[in-house]
């Protein structure tokens, strides 16, 4: 970071003035890929993959989103700072979801209670309550 150029360099370091111009064929290719992937998502939803239906749908969605970010939004040609910004957003979204799931996945754990009598009978035995919220 320290090596990053500060402003007022009149002639040095002007890489993005004109931006990167992608060929039209690339845009058409990405568009077609997105359409095909949409079809694949719908198709996959009609196949019983058990738990994996959701996973497949999400992987395809992430892939589609990456195509848009990388090519349509030109992140491929942007500075590291831009890439870092995108990564930061996803990282903090992961913190939000992940830290919250610590709570939601452990709510139904059986509490570990200390023995209340010498013969090892556990204090009020709580069975893991099924999600009857």
């Amino acid at each position: 970071m320290a090596s990053e150029h500060a402003h007022a360099h009149p002639h040095g370091h002007a890489p993005h003035t004109h931006g990167h111009i992608s060929p039209i064929s690339l845009y058409i290719t990405i568009f077609l890929a997105l359409m095909v992937l949409t079809g694949v998502t719908v198709g996959a939803a009609y196949v019983d993959l058990g738990q994996f239906n959701f996973l497949v749908a999400m992987i395809i969605a992430v892939f589609k989103a990456s195509l848009v970010v990388w090519y349509f939004m030109h992140v491929k040609y942007q500075s590291h700072l831009t890439k870092l910004t995108v990564a930061t957003g996803l990282f903090f979204l992961a913190i939000l979801l992940g830290m919250m799931l610590i709570d939601y996945t452990s709510r139904d754990f059986t509490p570990m209670l200390p023995p209340t009598s010498p013969d090892g009978v556990i204090g009020t035995p709580t069975t893991a309550a099924p999600a009857q919220h």
Partner: protein, 252 residues
């Protein structure tokens, strides 16, 4: 005293040579101005990620808790309209990308054309959304006091359609309550997405007018690029909303 500062202006006569008319006074070069705008826009999109992120988190938790309710309620959405809208939106992303490209290559006519086409596709999307919402209102599927989970089936039966029954772990009374969570999220998510689209179309009206007036050239087309980034982001949100809302469980 302290902290020596040399007053060495790299270009002591800032107005001695011609500046681009769009260069604001507090920037030194067009490239500095543009980089600032790009980073600023991405930081804004970062806030948008977390804005929609809160809804996605709520969706995830309730989907795990009430999977059957989510799967049942999701089947009430029309895959035709949803799929069509996905295609429309992806198409509008393409036209937007091409509009930015036209601006980059100094092609005023096609910048305007692609922008207008993008707006049209955006309006098609919103029109379809209106049709979908209307259907939900007609079937009492909007959460609140008038919500009626069984109306849809009763109505279908009254019309003489065959009503299929899947084995469910929840009673209709439970579904009456928990499917409202799904539709609450459905309306909030798609509603906010639609709101973003309306703002996007509004932005593009201004940008198109500016492009028409010839305010942009190969060196300065930042507004076109920024609204492009925004539009693509709205597209990405839909890329996630579509499988999450329309395709919860379609195979049984």
């Amino acid at each position: 005293m302290s902290n020596t500062v040399a007053h060495a202006d790299p270009h002591a006569h800032p107005h001695a040579h011609a500046h681009h008319p769009a260069l604001q006074h507090h920037f030194d070069t067009m490239s500095q101005q543009k980089e600032a705008a790009v980073i600023g826009m991405w930081v804004f999109l970062l806030t948008e990620i977390l804005f929609f992120g809160g809804l996605f988190v709520a969706y995830m938790i309730y989907r795990v808790w009430y999977f059957d309710a989510f799967a049942e309620a999701s089947r009430r959405l029309s895959l035709f309209w949803g799929g069509l809208n996905t295609a429309v939106l992806i198409g509008s992303s393409l036209t937007m990308a091409l509009a930015v490209r036209a601006a980059q290559t100094n092609n005023r006519k096609w910048t305007v054309n692609w922008l207008v086409l993008t707006m049209l596709l955006g309006c098609v999307f919103l029109g379809v959304k209106v049709i979908e919402y209307e259907d939900k209102f007609a079937n009492y599927e909007v959460p609140g006091a008038n919500y009626n989970w069984v109306y849809h089936e009763q109505h279908a039966a009254a019309e003489g359609h065959a009503v299929e029954h899947r084995p469910l772990s929840q009673t209709p009374e439970q579904l009456q309550r928990t499917t409202q969570l799904y539709f609450s999220l459905y309306f909030t998510m798609t509603g906010l997405h639609a709101l973003h689209m309306i703002i996007g179309v509004g932005l593009m009206l201004v940008i198109t007018w500016m492009a028409w007036k010839g305010k942009f050239d190969a060196e300065y087309y930042t507004p076109v690029e920024m609204s492009g980034l925004y539009w693509h982001f709205v597209d990405i949100v839909w890329i996630f909303l579509f499988p999450l809302l329309y395709l919860v469980e379609r195979h049984t």
